[in-house]
Symmetry: C3
């Protein structure tokens, strides 16, 4: 599965909806036992949630958007398939979440590529299930520090504390991802799936149990004037950076 | 305590029952404050649960066997004594669980010796309390990956991520285990026991609360024809390997 | 904030009460966004809870003392401010808890300085919320082993497993603490505080929910004759050491 939504694979409502539909199709296709997630856009895996979906829109739109983001995570983190993230570019915020939701993360060792949950830098807060996914991957202390600082880590740093499992040169990424997939597919599906579910169920169930409440929290938070102002400033900054 | 049930110290119902009785006696013996668990069989610590107990037997037998396995873990993980595993051979599946349930793990640095919870390789699933014990030792992420792949780790690898605490040459194992025991016994029993209980109680209580349900799950799972077939194939493979 | 209660900054009821009042004032002062905690006494950060408050006193006194200790932790671990511990000396037991409760720990790299939750060495048990704070920082396994052995770790060792975040030479400590504070203050307060609360709330809430029960446990435990005897012996030993 190759993300191709130039310029930066930002996770718009349309993009996420399409991603969810694709995941559902693959999940229901008995011939498909695994999926490699990567990017067709140079230097970027995914820039994360599309800020324009969270800025200057209606409460209904925010709610719809957030439900789609939840759906994406529930499908990916809870997938019965083997999921390998081949991270061939930077991967902040929601992009990092996609990588974290896979079974295995391989990242290109390029000093320019960064990854992390940097929400705090934008004045917003990663929801509890982003946090749970992060804690399950890197442990409580690393998550606490990284989330509070909104850190974006270099590939090397991310590898050091286990945010990614392996680093490879760009030209080896495809080959490595296929090899990892083969290794995971060598296991009997049934045993692997039950084991995966045992590891992830508590955290998945937590969102399922609090889904509407989480949407309401998001809508209330994001529609605050102070937050809207932060996001507008952030978008201005991005625009200036581009030009 | 030396496991001596050649050829591979497999955990049969008889073996486990005897182990539980021994642990109970030691626990009630006020002169015994600690126990070192090791193997009298060369190259193997314990090969894990005896597959013949899980294959071609009655539902009643499966239930009785599983209750014994639970009992072994409850006694060992919840022991008031200091428990040191002197792992002088390979230690897959249930053998690994015994090591994980001790307070400290010393393993012989021999490239041939492997350790891990490899249930998924056999098409079966480690129960939640194996998983909880594993997560408490190596953290969520390492456990998630290792359990899904059913990995058997070399002693060096196991040491790197904390599945064992220390590596020694074979001839130093006994001496080292005694030294570690002395270090742990230097603490006041009462404070050490309360602290140990504080660390392990949540996970122990979880099995106690769901014990009958866990037995039922095991019996239902293991008596499935597909699982029985996997186990028979695995035993065939072991037999061929031997001859 | 500089601890100055010679000879060893022991956490007496008066000291803790004053600390809580200071923290409350700073918390309510909108101009104060962060606090660096350090010691004005050479070679010691804080020696931990004052044993004289736990020895030969009334049940009422023990209860009052324990409530103050709880209050100190609730304020510090749950602070909305950025809290940096500049650990410029040894920091056993309650001293270690203060450091653990901050957002970031910098320790002077001096082979004589030690840090850890050594309660078990004194024949007492760290309460569950000391344990929760420790587990959130170093993970379950390191905490289990260190708490049971009542280990006091050198600065280097503490750094290796994440009990402290960074080591510096003594003359750089102040400068480094200020730099770290600046880094954390660069984040928008609101997002940082909500993120911090998300990470720590479960553990804080647990004490709040069981506060009276925890006081009762402490009073019952500490007033046992066997425990009182241990503490008297420990104080005798300290006196002899001094003279």
């Amino acid at each position: 599965m190759k993300f191709k939504s130039p310029p930066v694979n930002s996770l718009s409502l349309d993009f996420i909806t399409e991603l969810c539909i694709s995941l559902e199709k693959l999940e229901n296709n008995r011939e498909c036992r695994g999926v490699i997630v990567t990017s067709a856009v140079p230097n970027i895996f995914s820039s994360g949630l599309d800020i324009t979906e969270m800025c200057g829109k209606s409460m209904e739109h925010y709610a719809e958007f957030w439900r789609a983001v939840q759906e994406m995570w529930l499908r990916l983190y809870g997938s019965n398939m083997v999921t390998v993230a081949a991270v061939n570019g930077s991967s902040p915020a929601g992009g990092c979440l996609i990588a974290l939701s896979c079974d295995y993360r391989i990242m290109v060792q390029n000093p320019k590529f960064i990854i992390g949950l940097n929400e705090a830098q934008l004045g917003i807060v990663a929801p509890f299930w982003f946090k749970d996914t992060f804690v399950n991957t890197v442990g409580h202390r690393v998550a606490e520090r990284s989330l509070q600082l909104g850190s974006l880590h270099s590939a090397s740093e991310a590898h050091k504390f286990g945010l990614v499992d392996e680093l490879v040169p760009e030209e080896k990424l495809q080959e490595k991802a296929v090899a990892v997939m083969a290794q995971w597919l060598a296991l009997p599906d049934h045993a692997r799936q039950l084991t995966k579910s045992m590891m992830r169920k508590a955290v998945l169930d937590r969102l399922v149990a609090h889904r509407e409440e989480d949407i309401q929290n998001f809508v209330n938070f994001i529609s605050k004037e102070s937050i809207q102002k932060s996001l507008r400033m952030y978008m201005e900054m991005l625009k200036k950076k581009k030009s």
